[in-house]
Symmetry: C2
Subunit: 195 residues, 2 copies
């Protein structure tokens, strides 16, 4: 059906897997489906990914990385005021998650299942985001905007305290009216605490 003469790469398999997951959902997406979508035998898929779990993990990492990369741009804008950058970064994280959840709830639910089964990859993602936050806060501490003894600890605290606005387990709250104000209230409190 979808057979193309292109070489079978890991990237093509990942893209096909994402599409199969979108169509069938996490419970019914099989390796055979992925192979069929690519017009190859399932044995060929196993040449690139040792197990189905490894394939799903790779797809999950790919999805999470897309978000970290967007945020890295804000974190790296070192010419800007650290406080504004911190606020923007947190707002961008919230917006990214909120749109993912709101625009295509089914796909978001699918990825929620995937992240639940891939704690390791999620851990790395959180470490990456926390590192970006640490960068912003360290600069703020250097410029005197913030007054914190341990920027890494402060970054972790800020990330954890804003969990309600980025952790998937709160996704259904993100459509309620007033979340915007709640987000602002929490961020204001945290920024005041950092100064």
């Amino acid at each position: 059906m979808a057979s193309t003469s292109e070489i079978l790469t890991a990237e093509r398999i990942l893209a096909a897997t994402e599409e199969v997951l979108r169509r069938h959902g996490p419970a019914k997406a099989t390796v055979v489906d992925v192979a069929r979508a690519l017009g190859v035998s399932h044995g060929s898929v196993y040449r690139h990914f040792r197990t189905k779990a490894a394939l799903r993990e790779a797809v999950t990492k790919r999805w999470l990385d897309r978000t970290s990369q967007k945020l890295a741009v804000i974190a790296a804008a070192s010419e800007r005021d650290p406080e504004a950058r911190l606020r923007d970064w947190l707002a961008a994280l919230f917006e990214a998650k909120r749109h993912k959840a709101g625009d295509d709830p089914e796909l978001f639910a699918t990825y929620t299942v995937l992240t639940d089964e891939n704690g390791g990859v999620v851990g790395e993602h959180i470490a990456e985001l926390t590192a970006q936050l640490t960068g912003i806060i360290t600069q703020g501490a250097g410029s005197g905007t913030f007054s914190v003894p341990d920027p890494a600890a402060a970054a972790r605290a800020v990330f954890q305290a804003t969990g309600r606005f980025h952790d998937p387990c709160y996704a259904r709250e993100w459509t309620r009216p007033g979340v915007g104000e709640e987000f602002t209230a929490v961020v204001d409190l945290l920024v005041r605490g950092l100064r």
Copy 2:
């Protein structure tokens, strides 16, 4: 078996339901089981609770209320310093949840299922806790310890920002080493923000 000549009250039914839930778990606990534990017919249970869902909701409310009542004692100690009281209240909430989750993980998992299916009761519980927090913060604002324009909004922000240390969806993090320090870091940041 467990037949007694006592009058069948709502309270006795709730206690029996809790025991059946503890024994069988949320998926297998039936109204027939509850009736059997009490030595009555299941029709008698339906005389006190219109549906199985109403019975489970009442048990959930009872469980949540036990926590709010403990915390109310701390919130009401108006002779004490508001900042210390706020710290104690948050620590007590964390400790209460952490012990519930750590001492009997199976029962905690059972109640997690129950709270998931009873959003309304959980909402009331959160409203009650937020009201207690508002009381502490309002006093702190009055005595000049805290500087907040809107104590109720600040209370909501503090409650949400500490979600990681009381929301059941984070229960598995509560056993990790270092959570205590993470909790302190978040609370310190929030208290600094309130001053």
